[in-house]
Point group: D2
Chain length 255, copies 4
């Protein structure tokens, strides 16, 4: 069974985190679990941060029941985004790794609460944060530190409009050369274009990153959020298979 | 006595909001109140969002006692930043206008709570938010809307480094031409340089803005935060006097 | 008769430069000259830099004949953009002030040639240049220097898309506080929206700028370039009239 | 002997271009040629574009004599930057591929001249150009087109300051998925940090790029320009050796 602690201890582990942008139904997530048995870490949105207040805001508590139930049948760790300290009471039973999303990187009150909980945190860079600010914000979670924080580069905001964001691959390399934090890459948000996810996963490993976070949906066209960038479980399996060749070169252990 | 409701009703009112970045002591704020008797709206930080976790984080509850006490002797409305919904219980008695700071513009859970309270909100643009995202975020406070939200342009993040941020004066004009929201300008954060505050206040009025938010400290050199950009009460008085000449041309009522 | 040297000597002069984005015909420019008799400095594009190679590229030599002819009947100084040192031979007889456009700020070979000519240069900031780079580039025209270079802030490229560029009004103030260069503002390119030109002209004067550069066309809808941002001669006259009120406050001499 | 035409015809070729930022002496370049016999394409600056007019501006004509002489003893193609159409007369005899540098991407007059010459062009993206503008600018070289233009992504200007620029690896993938142009990556300028060049070369191949452009100097500490980012010939050889493993996976032919 997959142990998250060992990931923080092994510098050669390369972790694939995947799942739908928003958890929409039990069937949706189970389809992924069945198609991708190698997946150890599932990420799915329960409380969604949406730019438009009229967009789908997530299943909330019902979503957590689905997760708890699926955990009885499948072996996986669960990551979801927390957007408010008051959600902890509900989330904490089901969540193995908390995600702090890009819009909450500066939400220091939230970070202080997560620091108290002691669980690992997937800490996304704000799309306009400098690397220095990102590292400074980690200072609000001193008890987690380099042993329990996974930095996630998900693209920054620039003048370029042909892609959703600009993946700052420089920052991944810079972080690996200057800090001991785990660093993963989110190609889905970085590009916002389905066909670009595959090469960007390769780029992530070539850069020295410690993993990827990829949005996956059994039927992306019907997704309630991030339609244009989610890939299918089949595509994820192709990527995993390709990554294993690269992993040989880089002496990485795929998990 | 100054009535905040009338500000939202009168399109010609130009409001000056001022006070120290952080409330540091009773004496500090009283010095400003004494020197600037024309000031109707005081802003002072009680809970500070600091990039560096080791920086001064604000006085917290003690600060509110100071505010309550000073309100007995001076006539002013009080604005302070809220960074966590759990602060409402403490803040609500003393606060007349809530400030949502730049780092919390995307904190939709916080916005939903403020929407319930019904008090006016000074809503700062995130330093990397597009105007569209800013307006969309207002949608999380539908009960406040254009009648109770004051948008505050405080500079955006760009490649330029000679000033702290880049004041997006275009956006102020764009907003006034396309929406009915009140829009104020924060020259202190926009420039981050004391000597630039004065001309930027002029720019604000010339652009058609509805007010300015200026950081002021009786002894800026000794300030616990934002040292380089706070002006003295005397400088604020000079600015106010200059603004009154401009106000004649633009048919504005200074408050 | 207007003397450009005196502009560089008088710190209180505020210059209005106007004319069509592209010179399209004799009638087009004469319409402006007739409607705006107060205009001393006409700018019109002869050789155009167009992003799309299939767009109108300017009248070239025929345009210069029009200028020479109109100068016999109207009293004005002429500014046009130079994009290649090899144009000097043709341009030099008709041109009073050379414009270096945003895309050529880094064209140091061109700057060195202009330095030799000794005529004043309207030097536009590249839309992605820092203020430091802009000032450094002036170093390629050491014989012109602060006595013959007019810096023109025309908006920088940022993530914001509701306006064509982001006018960096901070930089205008910063330059006036730290250098002796003349600085003018181009609200037409900075906003790219006709209705925003008027308030941005006010902003320019309030900031301490030494002038404005405004695109003007007798029939903007029919313009061969920059349709959305050119204003009519009537609108320019309204702006001039408003500016004269502001000029009183700022003790500026409108030219 | 290496044939540049075949590079444009073979979609699997991955080209390494290297050489010093500025050609400083015969010995300097010969040291690289001797240490790196596999190098087919040498790039060295003859006329330098320097932000600061007092910095070293390149050897000029003397540099070309060095190139011509070295070509008698070593087999390589030569790339150098052209910054002014008037340099063609001198450069054309020695140059196999013209480089248009980042600051000249919008210099359409220069592009039109290169179009006439018919030689391949290494066309660097302006550090603030959108992909669309870059592609549009290629329209000024219609006779070269996808058969003779090599696009070079060298990092864009963003708010991030921990690296010199932000490599836009998204754009490389986007270009390869939407156009037939060759695309190479310049990790030296993209990062501006020597130690990051190696992983960025891996990233380039993983992204699907058609080559790399790497600054190399026998003694980087003593370089007259770009000191911080040039690597030694030995480091280049290590990178080449690593790339050959990756080339197997991606079925690339290293040239």
């Amino acid at each position: 069974m997959f142990n998250i602690d060992s990931y923080f201890q092994n510098s050669n582990d390369f972790m694939t985190i995947s799942g739908p942008c928003s958890l929409e139904s039990r069937d949706q997530l189970e389809a992924i679990l069945k198609s991708c048995p190698q997946l150890n870490v599932i990420r799915a949105g329960i409380y969604k941060m949406r730019t438009n207040p009229d967009s789908f805001q997530g299943l909330g508590p019902k979503g957590l029941e689905i997760i708890d139930d699926l955990k009885k049948h499948y072996d996986f760790k669960f990551i979801t985004e927390i957007t408010d300290p008051r959600q902890i009471e509900l989330l904490d039973q089901s969540v193995d790794i908390y995600q702090v999303g890009s819009r909450n990187m500066y939400n220091y009150d939230l970070l202080k609460e997560l620091n108290k909980l002691g669980k690992p945190v997937l800490f996304k860079r704000a799309f306009s944060a400098t690397v220095d600010e990102w590292i400074n914000a980690c200072g609000y979670m001193p008890d987690l530190g380099e042993d329990k924080i996974i930095l996630c580069e998900r693209g920054i905001r620039t003048f370029e409009t042909s892609t959703r964001n600009t993946l700052d691959i420089n920052s991944v390399i810079y972080l690996k050369q200057n800090y001991k934090f785990k660093v993963v890459v989110d190609p889905s948000h970085a590009a916002g274009i389905r066909s670009m996810v595959r090469p960007l996963c390769h780029v992530a490993m070539a850069s020295g990153a410690d993993g990827i976070l990829v949005e996956c949906h059994p039927n992306p066209q019907a997704a309630l959020s991030d339609k244009a960038q989610q890939i299918t479980p089949d595509e994820l399996n192709i990527i995993s298979s390709e990554m294993s060749k690269l992993a040989n070169i880089y002496d990485k252990n795929l998990i």
